[in-house]
């Protein structure tokens, strides 16, 4: 139940961010710092989410089939594969490596 509460708060705050943009005076656009932080934070969070999902198991670090998935996804992206193909490459590689016994 508490997951529901945080989920709905996340939804409200996501909408709040979006709406704020439509109501702040346009001159805030001229402040480069807010824009830069929004940009760097997006990059930092996505990088962090990538590695957390690749190597973290709770509070432990693990080198398992997910690392293979990350490598496969990177190769697919380097070949400019579309999003869905990248995701399938990641899943397929992890599944295959597990089948071969690398957890």
């Amino acid at each position: 139940m508490s997951l529901w509460i945080w989920l709905l708060i996340a939804c409200v705050l996501a909408y709040a961010w979006k709406l704020v943009g439509y109501f702040v005076p346009a001159k805030f656009l001229e402040d480069p710092r807010a824009s830069r932080i929004a940009g760097t934070m997006t990059i930092g969070l996505l990088a962090s989410l990538t590695v957390v999902n690749a190597v973290a198991s709770g509070q432990a670090l693990a080198a398992d089939a997910r690392l293979g998935a990350m490598a496969a996804a990177a190769v697919a992206l380097a070949f400019r594969a579309p999003f869905l193909v990248v995701v399938i490459a990641g899943a397929g590689t992890a599944a295959l490596l597990r089948l071969l016994g690398w957890n």
């Binding site: 996340a10 996501a14 710092r33 760097t40 934070m41 996505l46 989410l49 999902n53």
Partner: protein, 281 residues
């Protein structure tokens, strides 16, 4: 319809249905193809969400109410890693900050009034922003935004539902490599933003900070540590102001087809669609 100057002037009259043939609008075409491409990967979100431990209704609530791909994946990614609800909420919310910046750009560009502001806000995401800001003509900017926004919203939710229904019948998600799919999805969201040395340096620094933090703090919190590192980097750096800030997709085929506000002058011809030939009677 090719946007000759005279026609462009006509089209600038706020979107009356007869103002322009919608099917001939380059922005509408781009918006539709972006909608299909983006909507489809709602399947992967739906499947990953239910295998992360969210139920069908929670999954749909994220797609219907939160509606921002990166934040949705962040929320389920933290939950899947054993993180708390508050950590999931925090990661999703920090990722959503850029939508506020997009909102400012779109508000200046489209000048929506009344209820359109409130509906448009919910549709303000990477893809709708990119489709709109890539157009030079104000009427086309408006059409691009609404076509991509509404199209993605509808398809994203339909395909989330399909993915969630399929995912819940899969059994052990690890057997299907779905944890690998999540890694791939985050990397795919990150990849288009790594356009220069500085974004790469920030990504590496945040990845390292995350790995160092994992053993010492509860699950979910390492992501917030990375957010602090990234915010500091943004605060202290002096590079080009919009580096890394562009929406993370490129809806226009040729290089230079996307333009920030203010560069619109050289966006005269729209890529890919050759509207003039297409619409020639």
């Amino acid at each position: 319809m090719g946007l000759e100057p005279a026609q462009a002037a006509l089209a600038r009259v706020p979107a009356g249905p007869q103002a322009v043939k919608l099917r001939a609008s380059p922005a509408v075409k781009v918006g539709i193809s972006i909608s299909i491409a983006t909507g489809l990967y709602g399947i992967s979100f739906g499947a990953l969400s239910v295998t992360s431990g969210l139920n069908l209704w929670q999954t749909m609530a994220l797609s219907l109410l939160l509606f921002s791909g990166g934040s949705q994946f962040a929320f389920i990614g933290v939950v899947a890693g054993g993180g708390s609800g508050i950590a999931a909420m925090s990661a999703a919310t920090l990722l959503g900050m850029r939508n506020g910046i997009y909102g400012m750009q779109l508000n200046a560009l489209l000048r929506p009034t009344g209820w359109r502001k409130y509906v448009g806000a919910q549709l303000t995401i990477d893809e709708s922003t990119a489709t709109s800001t890539g157009q030079a003509d104000p009427a086309e900017q408006r059409r691009g935004f609404w076509t991509a926004g509404i199209g993605i919203y509808v398809l994203w939710n339909i395909f989330t539902l399909i993915g969630a229904l399929a995912g819940s019948g899969l059994g052990d998600p690890r057997q299907w490599g779905l944890d690998g799919a999540a890694v791939a999805a985050f990397l795919a969201l990150l990849w288009p933003r790594l356009k220069g040395r500085e974004p790469v340096a920030i990504a590496v620094a945040c990845a390292v900070a995350t790995v160092i933090a994992v053993p010492f703090v509860p699950p979910g919190v390492p992501i917030l540590v990375a957010a602090v590192v990234a915010a500091l980097a943004g605060w202290l750096s002096h590079g080009r102001r919009d580096e890394g800030l562009e929406p993370d997709i490129e809806p226009y085929a040729h290089p230079g087809g996307r333009h920030a506000r203010g560069n619109a002058a050289d966006a005269g011809s729209q890529p890919g669609d050759t509207p003039d030939q297409a619409a020639a009677p």
